[in-house]
Symmetry: C2
Subunit: 353 residues, 2 copies
Amino acid sequence: MPATSRFLRACRSESVDRTPIWIMRQAGRYLPEYRALRERHSMLHLCRTPELACEVTMQPLRRFPLDAAILFSDLLIPIPALGCGFDIVEHRGPVLDRSVRSREDIDALKDPEDLRSLEFAFEAVRLVKAALAKEAPGTPLIGFTGAPFTVASYMIEGGPSRRFAETRKFMHRDPVGWDMLMGRLAALLSEYLVRQIDAGADAVQLFDSWVGVLSPGEYRRHVLEPTRRVIAAASARRVPVIHFGTMNGTLIEAMADAGGDVIGADWRMPLDTARRRCPGRAVQGNLDPIALFAPQEVLSRMIDDVIDQAGGLPGHIFNLGHGILPETPIENVRFLVEAVHDRTARDASKERG
Amino acid sequence: MPATSRFLRACRSESVDRTPIWIMRQAGRYLPEYRALRERHSMLHLCRTPELACEVTMQPLRRFPLDAAILFSDLLIPIPALGCGFDIVEHRGPVLDRSVRSREDIDALKDPEDLRSLEFAFEAVRLVKAALAKEAPGTPLIGFTGAPFTVASYMIEGGPSRRFAETRKFMHRDPVGWDMLMGRLAALLSEYLVRQIDAGADAVQLFDSWVGVLSPGEYRRHVLEPTRRVIAAASARRVPVIHFGTMNGTLIEAMADAGGDVIGADWRMPLDTARRRCPGRAVQGNLDPIALFAPQEVLSRMIDDVIDQAGGLPGHIFNLGHGILPETPIENVRFLVEAVHDRTARDASKERG
């Protein structure tokens, strides 16, 4: 069974010969070849130069037998299309040129004009598809975007935040203005995803990284509908959609109601719980990224726990429960990928008798 | 019905004439009289000077008809008894003199010697009890401590953290060393709570503020037992124990298994869910602190939602879902306290027919 079928079949909860695995932020700082590129180029320059984005995307595939590639990019890449410039500041994260906190700020957002300014991202998708065909035939490419809430939170806060106080104040103070902003973002992010799919992405992931600051009631009232619009736009192109959030222990059902063939769970949501609370969906996750720092006998047990909690191969995509950490030892990443494949290949052959 | 019965009866899920309310960090920066004191004294000086700690504790009681006082203090106040000094740095939080990351570091911890060095805290409890008897007769005093996990996380990280990476690495790398550290903390924090009770605290709250970074499995294996020891020590003195954590959407059952007459829910855990998942316990919470920045008609609706989700008066203590924010408008705090009392007094009289 080629890798492509394995990942895409798992997304559709179909039978597989072993559990597919990819790793959030698999193209990143834990790789020395990535750090070498970053010495010469800024993070944003890598994202915005198709050849470099392609090179970074391919780096982990050359080291590990991963079952999917994911486009190297950043959650905020599409927002300059609305006139919101930003930079990524070392040890701090994204810093926006201005923040969006009023109706006037929303009215001042630009029309994205068919995303011409984001053409570099779609070109990167095409280059990665060609590179995969040559270097790792059959490996699917995952495109991605931030979800409307998470992207809105950066635009309102003006950068990273711990409490997302301004975001939540805005939501409660002016729910109609909030809906207008979310509507603008839903339109932009839908189109951004669809264009990645049209360029060749085989699946997409929606990152609602900070949605866990909301209660289920807040999510259903203020966030579900624009999120559903983005997922529906991608689903209409008939590619699987992975819907991922963190700290979402109380709102995973509401997130599932917004859509997604696959629900991504962070490391705090046991996969058996995720399966029970999201019936009919595949699940993705959810090894604690910290496990990769543990001695290999501990790591091995934690990997087995995740596979056990997933309760069988169909409908499970192995991943970490959040992005891989920059200081992660590479030998443990190799150990992880091989352990998942070996263990689940044995499980699959046992099942076949 | 005097306030004392109202709060303590609610902790025991007994009938009340209205829902009691207190506010996490009710003695704090949103009060101008607190900010005035802080201009002259450091946070730690306020905590460590019984007369000043008493004065700060009493400030919110003079403004609002709150149903309980809570000792003004800090989660890290007891750790110098183990030889871990710290300072509280403006806009940054606590910074420890050293971090505890190895067996050697644990061996180097001091013996707390009957908590003589923390006598200021117990003296503050006695002064507050006397002040309450005079100024707000019948109002109970809540003592508190950080839970072993949350206190350990500061000791290991050396200060505030976002990902608690060092804490979780330690836990997985050396589970036996981890258990030793948690054992030392369970002993210290139990004694610290018991001495507050002996000095006059009528109830206690255990703050496991950062426990939500753990999965249920991690909590049960590494955290439940030392937490249970602290709660059991306080319960043995026959005062109600409130057990509070945040981001605990996946592990509230495990926290309830560690104990607590009352389970404190953050704003993301609807109280009907908390009640269902923690049968037989009272619940405390859980208005989003951000709600206090909303227009009063929105705030009013959000207060009603919390009361509705609590599903009736017995066994509900109204509170925020996390500490009150420093910029909170005072007039909305007054509105909140009055709204909770008025609405639930009407509910209670309806129930009586």
